[in-house]
Symmetry: C2
């Protein structure tokens, strides 16, 4: 495919993409295909010779679209949002053309430097303590990771390396593997499954601490667990606090957790994967108070900040701690600038990296901070509208306080009734919701996700839910 | 930014991208900026209000391009290639618009199913044993990872989980952390630094075994190391063999390594990150003989197969072993299809994933297998041309056999002479090469990288090298 063929094809691809996104409200949000649907639609082997572009373009509707769950439909209310914006797509076109691998500064200086600058812009918007910013001239700075899962694991590995080194210095006769085997991490039982998984993958015991009715981890609960572990001869090391949990958007009490981490020398990592975007609005920034206690802070612009996946923002107060944990330095990667600017390959699990900061740059400039803030505020307004509608119908209850763009709700009565309602919603396929469970309570999560969701879409979803609730018998 | 503004901007972005790629030969391949160059060119904070597209577009040349190392310049001969093709960019536009997160089948069935089908297409092209393919109906299959570094780590973690479980079954009284502390992995001293790093991150001792003059790890050397470790009470677990090492493109002897792994029950992972693409050509497929001994095999279509980064292809013979190591299953991710189709989130470190298989599909169809093969063959021909030119000039020597698209060379005499030559090449900036080192020998690596490199570009590079070599005194 040469340049002129690409020019024509790319224009058609762009037109297709616009038609898809502008018309997405009319597509069924959930596909109806069965597992294995695609195999019979494709040849068994790759074609020997090139096919025409028109064949590929027409196969998008034939093969792909029947199996797409439309995450950007205004009727998508499952999980949390994933971002999609025209500026994000524009930036990825440029990133795909430059297609540099930014593992060191020299391998493409612009790739490292734009990332440093964008992470500072973003950090300033969040009013992060200056130790987290490159412009402070200290040891801190930010980096784009692929996902919050990776950020949690990277911070865990850095915490592990720091603690093993410190304990080894005190007890030179202990071997490092046995020190590592004594380390313990802590998080809330409400934390995302990727936090537990980071413990599994990083080989660190992960305590899932109870939260009580508020679903909030407190410093008192953490301190109790830390003291128990110390009494058992274990070595407390790493704490993951969540701001905006996945199930109910609960906020751990970092103002009480922070001082406990300080007292016992634990690495505090704050995961605000979804809710973090809201902190760019002054009225929500107070929810981040306590971040000054953290060694590392992470949130996903690719969730609720209109930057297409993947773009997970992670800051360290002292990046040398992660570099120490990750650094292996062979001769073919050495260059003269080492030490002056970060070599981001030491800040992450993969070695290679795409030019992802272009997405942040384009989104900031083409939407403006006010445009990004307005998207957050609109989602919160729409969630509050849905909450008000729920409160007016006595058949429903709201088991946990709504927060940000999420409202958890259930039918009064047994869990079975809410499960039946969810099944009816799934079968009808007009809107997409997923369930949540906390202890014995089963509920539905209604999450505002698409950039284009309107009041009418919320009302549409509510009418659908109300009408299906009519079909659920009161005594199930 | 609304649809019509995007349509106009996207057309301009496409035109820019075509101008960039078609004119890339005339740009200086290496930038001349100093670290920190960008900070003064950008405002200190993100703009409050949207800026016009024209301002962003014009800043690409002003701010970004001065700091770009042009990986797709035909004068780029550093590292190994990273892929870039028009079909790859087209597919990413679509992927950015669909912007689904494919962590489960249900979260977007097409995302999982196209990946299964493309990994089967690719596996068939490589003539992988059928146990690695989904269409065999067994436990095997392929998955797209971000990078080879992640693939090596994922396989290590799966091997670790398998071995800990097996040892625990034999010795129920041992605790799992202490079993994990006894595990050992093996690779060649020539393996990529990410292999050693996988050991660091995964908490497994990694022996870097000597290779002798051929730079090739053999089964005999591996067996010797395994027996020593067994005698010391350690537990051999995981072996990474490389086909096409980073420094010299050497090939480990998997036909002798495989039986040793079989004999001692070790997990054999084969990393063919760069060279793997060549195995789609029948004349190179013999280099993959022995893959039948592997539990996992990985190569990067994003290097030498015209699929834009990131797309690292990883196959397992028994994927349940990696699922066992990675699986945590909360209620909000449960769905009805579990077990029938893979939930790829259990096959990788991140939870979220982009719709990357579209890139494979577009590249296969728009270039055809023959087009992809021709790119490999052209690179090999061009490397042989460069090798012939070297042999004709007695000032140069070739310390290791050229392989694939890589030729290692040096000036006769001291290492200092070759270092001086490299510095002159860097200062001149017409071509970009990086050095390599094996034991005491310093050399330069000449790698054919761009899709568009021609015989004339190789001759241009050779004249540049010859003329700069004239400036290196014979007695340095």
């Amino acid at each position: 495919m040469e340049a002129e063929a690409f020019r024509t094809a790319a224009r058609e691809m762009i037109d297709y993409v616009i038609d898809y996104l502008e018309g997405i409200r009319d597509r069924r949000v959930l596909p109806t295909v069965e597992p294995g649907y695609m195999r019979g639609m494709l040849p068994e082997e790759a074609p020997r010779e090139p096919e025409p572009w028109s064949a590929v373009l027409s196969d998008i509707e034939r093969v792909i679209m029947p199996g797409v769950t439309h995450w950007h439909s205004p009727h998508f209310h499952a999980f949390y949002p994933t971002a999609n914006s025209y500026p994000g797509i524009l930036a990825d076109i440029l990133s795909g053309a430059i297609a540099c691998i930014g593992f060191t500064w020299q391998s493409s200086p612009a790739c490292t430097e734009l990332e440093m600058n964008m992470m500072d812009w973003l950090g300033k918007l969040l009013a992060l303590p200056k130790e987290f910013l490159f412009c402070s001239g200290g040891k801190g700075g930010g980096v784009i990771q692929g996902t919050a899962s990776e950020a949690t694991l990277v911070a865990l590995l850095a915490a592990k390396a720091r603690t093993v080194k410190a304990v080894k210095a005190q007890h030179p006769e202990w071997n490092e593997a046995s020190i590592a085997g004594m380390l313990v991490a802590y998080t809330s039982e409400q934390a995302h499954c990727s936090v537990e998984r980071a413990g599994m993958l990083g080989g660190m015991k992960m305590h899932l601490l109870e939260t009580g009715e508020s679903l909030t981890l407190t410093g008192a609960k953490l301190e109790e667990a830390v003291k128990e572990d110390l009494a058992r001869g274990l070595i407390p090391c790493y704490v993951v606090a969540t701001l905006g949990t996945t199930t109910t958007c609960a906020f751990d009490d970092i103002l009480s957790i922070g001082p406990v981490c300080e007292k016992f020398g634990l690495w505090l990592h704050i995961d605000a994967a979804y809710a973090g975007a809201a902190f760019i609005c002054p009225e929500f920034r107070h929810l981040l108070n306590g971040v000054e206690y953290a060694e590392s802070f992470n949130f996903n612009p690719h969730k609720w900040m209109l930057v297409n996946f993947d773009c997970s923002a992670l800051w360290f107060k002292d990046a040398s701690l992660v570099v120490d944990a990750f650094n292996v330095d062979p001769v073919y990667l050495k260059h003269d600038q080492q030490g002056v600017v970060p070599d981001y390959r030491h800040w992450q699990i993969p070695l290679g990296r795409r030019f992802r900061s272009l997405k942040l740059w384009f989104v900031f400039r083409l939407l403006g901070v006010e445009g990004i803030q307005e998207n957050v505020r609109k989602h919160v307004r729409l969630a509050r509208r849905f909450h008000r509608l729920l409160l007016e119908d006595p058949r429903f209850s709201v088991p946990f306080p709504p927060a940000m763009g999420l409202v958890c709700f259930r039918l009064e009565g047994s869990n079975e009734r809410s499960k039946m309602l969810l099944n009816l919603i799934r079968e009808s396929g007009k809107i997409f919701l997923v369930p949540g469970g906390v202890k014995e309570t089963f509920f539905l999560r209604f999450s505002i996700c698409a950039r284009t969701t309107t009041e009418e879409d919320v009302d549409f979803a509510w009418r659908e839910i109300q009408s299906l609730a009519d079909q659920v018998a009161p005594d199930v």
